[in-house]
Structures are given as C-alpha cells and as structure tokens.
Symmetry: C2
Subunit: 144 residues, 2 copies
C-alpha cells in the first residue's frame, strides 16, 4: 500500500479499490468466537439445512466487517471511518469469493472536516449485491 487518498484526490464517481474476500468455514468458526455469535446456522450444516438454508451461511456482521475493511484499506491510517451501515438482503455461503466494492457519492466540508460519502456493497460471483451499504469517511487534506 503506502498510497492513500487525500480529500482533493476524490470526487463523485471515484471508485474505491475492490477488496476480494475468500470466506471459509474456518473463518466463520473464528468469527463465531470473536463475535460471540454461536448460532448454529454459521457452522452446523445439518442444523442450517434443517432451518431451510442450503448450508452454513456467513454472519451478516462479518460481511459488514468486510465492508469496513474495504474502506479502511482504502483510506489508510490518516483517514477515519466515521459511519458505516448496510443491509443484509441475502445469504452468502463460505467457499466462494466475495468482492467488496464502493463508489464516492458526495464530498463536502462540515464542521471543519473533509468528508466523503460512499455507496459500498458486497458482490458475489454472479454479481448479486446482497449487502448494500453506505459510509462516510474523513480524509486528510493536502493543505494539512
């Protein structure tokens, strides 16, 4: 990395560099541990199928965390992720890659802060966008 955007570098339509994630059953087990969400649909295939799911599915909050990583990887240590929200509109299973994407929708100054709003989303291999979100980041300015 090493090259992070200044507020002057972005404008409406600027794309956030994509982040590809490869969620595995192991990641779901680790995420259960760190999040404290031990609902069996995230690791017990038989249980998941007994509830009508095709198999184990990702924690929604894990997909939200992927979006957070998309943004913090982009803005770097000088930026601040101020707000992040998303909706869980569909289920994703481990074993297939997910691509996190984003685009700048607005840039503005408020209360002395240089702000950027983005649309973000997680996309599966079929291009389905099950996790649309929105974020606000604070970027540094070249003026310092």
């Amino acid at each position: 990395m090493g090259s992070y955007p200044y507020w002057e570098d972005v404008e409406e339509g600027t794309e956030v560099p994509s982040l590809v994630k490869h969620p595995t059953t192991r990641q779901l087990v680790r995420y259960a541990g760190v999040s404290g969400d031990f609902y069996e649909i995230h690791y017990d295939k038989d249980f998941a199928q007994s509830t009508g799911l095709p198999g184990v599915i990702l924690h929604g909050a894990l997909k939200s965390a992927f979006l957070a990583q998309l943004l913090t990887d982009w803005i770097g240590p000088q930026g601040t992720l101020r707000k992040l929200g998303c909706q869980y509109r569909g289920m994703d299973q481990p074993g297939a890659p997910l691509t996190c994407k984003g685009v700048v929708t607005k840039k503005y100054v408020a209360n002395g802060e240089h702000l950027v709003d983005c649309e973000v989303w997680v996309e599966d291999e079929k291009g389905q966008k099950f996790t649309p979100g929105w974020a606000t980041v604070v970027l540094p300015t070249r003026a310092g």
Copy 2:
C-alpha cells in the same frame, strides 16, 4: 456438591462419581476458539466426510478435558489433580452423550503427599471406551 473425599475415604476399587457430558457442535466451535485448534474435521461436515470420517468429531483434547473435569469435580478445591494422561483410540461425534468414569487403583503416601491413582475413561452410549486414561490426585487427610 459440598462433599469431597478425604484420602481416608477412598480405597482400591472406589468409584469416581460419573460425569455425563452432552457435547454439541456449538461446544466444538467454542473449543476450537479457546484451544486454537481450528482443524476443519471438528466443525465442517463436508470436509470431515471428505477425509473419510462419518461427520464432525470431537477434539481429543476436549475429551481429555472432560476427564479432568471428572476428577476435579470429584476431588473438589482441597484436592489437586497431579497427573492426567489418556489415549485417543476412537472418534466421538457431537449429539450423543458421553459418560466419564473412573476407579481408584492405588492409594499411597510419597514425599509427604497423600496420593491416589485412578483409571479413568470416557464411555459412549454403546459402552465403547475410546478414551482410556490414568490419573494421580492428591487428597487432603482428616489429620490435616
């Protein structure tokens, strides 16, 4: 509880009170987290079956921990679990109860300590003893 054995209370052949455990897929996921053993055979059914297993199986060290609980529940806070070993001779799956049992094989004094050796094991519903073990505990004496 509240009633724990003194060294004078036990003799060769004394049975350790049984401990019944009900391992679940959730317990295996929790155990993966605390032990750091994230091998997929303990939570990913498809992976487990791809290695020839009938499904996910218990961590051997979890069964060893069940035996430790058997003993520490028995001896109470005034006793000390000095040694515990076991062999993993078979696989156990979550969803069926396991019973931990033990019997005193020897009592003796060494270096001023009042010691008790035990055979311990984990038994499944069919009476199969896949996890035989041996332990040494230190018990308090009525003499104080």
